[in-house]
């Protein structure tokens, strides 16, 4: 009991998000190290309990289902109250969250309620004897800090994409849990949620990112970037700060020091010179391709593969070649 791990499994639109499975996987290896169980708590509207097998399949022994119409969208105050109560009554050694918009909002609220710190946005979490140890990239990914959590519960948020999901199937036995407060009683009300484009992959979850910079010359030329992303089939579109500040792309697409920090399998930088602030957000990508007309652009210093030349000539050719390669594959 004292070595059990609680996971707050993020759900949206009636399904669990990929980051939820990653966090369960991280919790599974941590619990195995400590000799405990993984309990995943999931919040949602009617029928959310149907996600339990998915959480069990990646390592949850128990799935705690908090079903309420008020949880169809994220309800920070009621979720925080319920998770804090569950951690206390369940006597958990640690609670893990995704370092997503929701998890980054939720974990510190619970930390303050339980009067402990939070290790945020970690890329690894493990047991070292009785300590819980995490690795956290800081100073725009230029330094990796190893941190120790000495309090119980240890609260940790795990960076999306940092942990791979294995197969460690457990029972995923469903238990129903009541909300610790009426979701309608929250002071902060979500009055609307607008999701841009239904099937659009999020930057944190996409295995491939095609990103554009000023070298594209105009907002409408981003269609070339979108076509390349579509050719990959599993790609999201990113942008530099110069481009989002100019309103060519929404701010949510910005990759860099003050935007999103991403680490896809493949990052294609198109017309991006490679300002240090941009590189801060993408340097941890596994493979980087750069296409730029200036052979001395700093982006080529971090790119595994570079093509020098006119993006308007190269992009259509690359899009066609990626389509052909995937058709064969």
């Amino acid at each position: 009991m004292a070595n059990n791990i609680l996971v707050v499994a993020e759900a949206r639109g009636g399904d669990v998000r990929k980051v939820a499975l990653e966090v369960v996987a991280a919790a599974r290896s941590l619990a195995d190290g400590l000799g405990g169980e993984v309990h995943a708590i999931v919040f949602g509207g009617a029928g959310i309990g149907a996600v339990a097998p998915k959480l069990g399949a990646v390592g949850a022994d128990v799935v705690l289902v908090v079903e309420h119409d008020g949880f169809a969208t994220y309800n920070a105050e009621a979720v925080a109250a319920t998770v804090a109560t569950q951690i206390t009554t369940g006597g958990y050694r640690a609670a893990l969250f995704g370092a997503s918009a929701m998890g980054q909002d939720l974990a510190p609220r619970i930390g303050a309620r339980l009067r402990v710190g939070v290790a945020a946005d970690v890329v690894a979490v493990s047991a070292d004897g009785t300590d819980i140890v995490v690795r956290h990239p800081m100073n725009t990914n230029k330094i990796i800090a190893t941190m120790v959590l000495s309090a119980t519960p240890a609260l940790v948020s795990v960076r999306p994409g940092a942990v791979s999901v294995g197969t460690s199937a457990k029972a995923g036995a469903v238990q129903s849990v009541a909300s610790a407060m009426d979701p309608a009683a929250g002071r902060v009300k979500v009055t609307g949620v607008s999701m841009g484009g239904g099937a659009k992959l999020d930057l944190a979850e996409a295995p491939v990112i095609v990103s554009g910079g000023r070298g594209l010359k105009a907002a409408e030329n981003f269609s070339l970037v979108e076509e390349l992303a579509a050719a990959f089939g599993n790609a999201a579109v990113g942008a530099t700060r110069a481009v989002t500040d100019d309103g060519w792309r929404p701010h949510s697409d910005q990759i860099g020091q003050t935007g999103r920090q991403v680490s896809p399998d493949l990052y294609v930088a198109v017309g991006i010179s490679g300002a240090i602030q941009h590189i801060a957000g993408m340097r941890n990508s596994k493979t980087i391709v750069a296409i730029n007309k200036d052979k001395d652009a700093p982006i080529f210093k971090v790119a595994d593969y570079g093509i020098v030349g006119d993006v308007f000539e190269i992009l259509p050719a690359l899009t066609a070649a990626v389509k052909a390669a995937r058709a064969q594959g």
Binding site: T73, Y74, A76, S100, A101, D105, P108, R109, G111, A112, R113, R115, G117, V118, A119, A120, H136, M138, N139, N141, I143, I144, A145, T146, V148, L149, R187, V188, K189, T191, G192, V193, M195, G197, L201, D202, D245, S252, Q257, L266, R283, K286, T287, I288, K295, K301, A303, D304, Y305, G306, I307, V308, G309, E313, I314, A317, A321, V322, A325, R326
Partner: protein, 251 residues
């Protein structure tokens, strides 16, 4: 409105960092410091809100060593009215210890709105703001990319993965500020810099809370090995495809 903005002095992220001799800190050598980007936007947002609604007062609060006063002076030069320095020789890595000190300072301030940056760009945790809100029992919205106040109610937008949430909340409240709310924080004018020297700046010891998250080790990530130029123009595309398939194995 009476607005408080909590700001942090951070290293310039353009630097080539080195690990300090103790192995658990970032070396100071050759490092320049400035206000964290998100905190600058929070100061700018506070100034704009009061300009829009007329009157009010902006107090900036910073926890850290004596040099944090330089960062407070910058916010005063931008137009904030007064500063509070919570003195701590080292800023802990446990956001809860910091949140306790900030909450102790903020609790009797009768602020209508308390703003933070979404994260400090150095420690990159983004936990302190929401913790302070909980400690003070205030409504809280994190990662705000749009903010307005109408009487005793505020409205905000926050970016979530793939979308935007719109929220409403009663004041007093606490918000953490993300990119998108302001395009550019104002630069202090010469007049502002002169005026800032005469604005009140109070310094007192920080009442830090207990620390439960600490750094055991810091290290530099492995350097990326230098890549290669595959070729020039569209003619290089077939070779790139071959490398992505056979060498990088990502296609």
């Amino acid at each position: 409105m009476k607005i408080a903005v909590c700001i942090k002095r951070v290293a310039d992220m353009g630097a080539r960092f080195q690990i300090g001799a103790d192995g658990t800190s970032v070396s100071d050598a050759g490092i320049k410091y400035d206000m964290s980007d998100f905190d600058e936007w929070a100061v700018e947002a506070a100034l704009q809100l009061n300009e829009k609604h007329g009157g009010g007062e902006v107090t900036v609060i910073s926890l850290g060593p004596d040099a944090a006063q330089e960062t407070i002076r910058k916010a005063l030069a931008m137009g904030a009215d007064k500063g509070v320095h919570l003195k701590a020789d080292r800023i802990p890595f446990d956001g809860f210890a910091i949140a306790e000190a900030l909450a102790a300072e903020l609790k009797d301030g009768a602020y209508d709105l308390i703003l933070f940056g979404r994260i400090a760009v150095d420690s990159a945790a983004g936990v302190t703001g929401a913790m302070v809100a909980e400690l003070l029992g205030l409504p809280c919205v994190t990662a705000v990319s749009k903010l307005d106040v109408n009487g005793a109610m505020g409205t905000a937008e926050r970016q979530v993965e793939g979308g935007v949430e719109t929220l409403s909340f009663p004041l007093p409240a606490l918000c953490t500020i993300d990119q998108g709310l302001v395009t550019q924080a104002r630069y202090p004018s010469l007049k502002g810099i002169m005026a800032a020297k005469k604005k009140p700046l109070e310094s007192k010891p920080a009442q830090l809370g207990a620390i439960s998250v600490s750094v055991r080790k810091m290290e530099l990530p492995p350097e990326r090995s230098a890549g290669r130029i595959v070729g020039e123009g569209a003619a290089a595309v077939p070779e790139l495809i071959r490398l992505l398939q056979t060498e990088a194995k990502v296609l």
